[in-house]
Symmetry: C2
Subunit: 302 residues, 2 copies
Amino acid sequence: MTAAHTTVEPARPLVPVLAVVGVGLIGGSFAAALRASGAVGKVLGVGRSATSLSTARELGIIDEVATLERAGREADLIFLATPVGAIAPMLAALKPCLRDSTLITDAGSTKADVVAAAREALGERIRQFIPGHPIAGAEKTGPEAADPALYRHRNVVLTPLPENSGGDKAALTKIWERCGAKVIVMEPEAHDAAMASVSHVPHFLSSVFMWQVATAQDSDLRMRLAGSGFRDFTRIAAGSPEVWRDIFLTNRPAILAELQEVKAALARAELALQDADGPDLQDFLERAALARRFWGSRSGLS
Amino acid sequence: MTAAHTTVEPARPLVPVLAVVGVGLIGGSFAAALRASGAVGKVLGVGRSATSLSTARELGIIDEVATLERAGREADLIFLATPVGAIAPMLAALKPCLRDSTLITDAGSTKADVVAAAREALGERIRQFIPGHPIAGAEKTGPEAADPALYRHRNVVLTPLPENSGGDKAALTKIWERCGAKVIVMEPEAHDAAMASVSHVPHFLSSVFMWQVATAQDSDLRMRLAGSGFRDFTRIAAGSPEVWRDIFLTNRPAILAELQEVKAALARAELALQDADGPDLQDFLERAALARRFWGSRSGLS
């Protein structure tokens, strides 16, 4: 990485050549954030959609469209912002053309599965890969949705491997901080369990609910009466089906385990409703409301 | 009602004296909207919290604090914006002091239960009560949250009774339209079934989920990693426990029936996840995403 260079030559950017694989919301916002903070020299864009790449170039998010091979040869940092299922094939394709000094990171929403696949794909070059997951997103997709402020004040989890060097870990932390993010270091499995709870299960439930309402016989009438509560509860269900299918498949055991917990809680609340038990209903509603209000005041997100 | 008067004396407001019972978000916003549109003369505020009433008066939402009895004697329109469980006792207390020309409506989130209780409480004066439900709200509560624009472009369901006069129904429709709302007329039971689906079940699920996360052993870590999806999915769980306890209790059969449908859909999606069935997962995610995006583009709410 180039952290050492920046102290010697201050004019040299933190990341002389950045390659972003997947120039949508996540990858495009990363490139835009680094460019806005003056941390990047040239940005190469890699992807399968010619339209997205062309839009990203028109918007100034990337400077040039490149192949994966060129990214491996030229980039100082490669940011993989593809669906989780595409990360391992990308790493396998990158391996033969990687320079020794190239650092790779990703934005995959699951980490244990990605780490296992990365070890297989990269072999001894696994030291060049630091797994990451920015906790940020929106229901919008594509390069048009890219926003240099997307990661500001957001958490980014890194799950470094024993093979990663201290210098690379420090450099990647600094890069994320230049995007305005706060870095949290965790084990991959702890990350996956926590994300199953606060991200994957809510998405699963929101999508199941939306699907159930949409397939009801009187769905038109129902949806006419849907208000702001429905809007908020179902917003995540509009997210990319492909991205979320991959997340569900790669974090399957943790999600299935967490769903059991949620169903047990649901059964308890349903029993209170069946029994028309007002105090019990109010008790669980109060605990939920207090916890949500406390979270809202601390998270800076609501 | 005063609809006839306004054509004869244009200087006379649509509602010369409005009484709002419950001066929080819903009642306060109704008063503020009518005042902003010049549709109201004097506003009386009725409630059990001296603090809320005093705040509402300081904010100019109400002109005077009044007893329920005075509201019954003086008001042309009484708007009941209390928790659903308090509507019947209010109507019973109002009955002995009601003028013949006073119209009463409510903002209760359930209607069949309210209609039954209103018939019992009002007897022959049931003709003066037109049940209503504005589909609007926010997680904030209290008179400070009152907003004259809360009902703009929102749907308001009225479930008129056979005893209501055509003149009264037209007058109440006009009043809601002055708040910027669109009036939909429905049967109480159809309203309750639709609301169970698109409002009550989402609130139940969001609260159950929030409660489950908050009571987990590692809830602190989980909540640090919670992002914008969590924020949206759990926003409604911050709502008033008392209000929602009453809604759940008064619309219990419809909610329990709808919960069975959601659980059946969940079981089907869970099976696809257990089987790691990518195409099946993607299929349900796609249907949900398309339906949500279509709703968002039509509803004007997202």
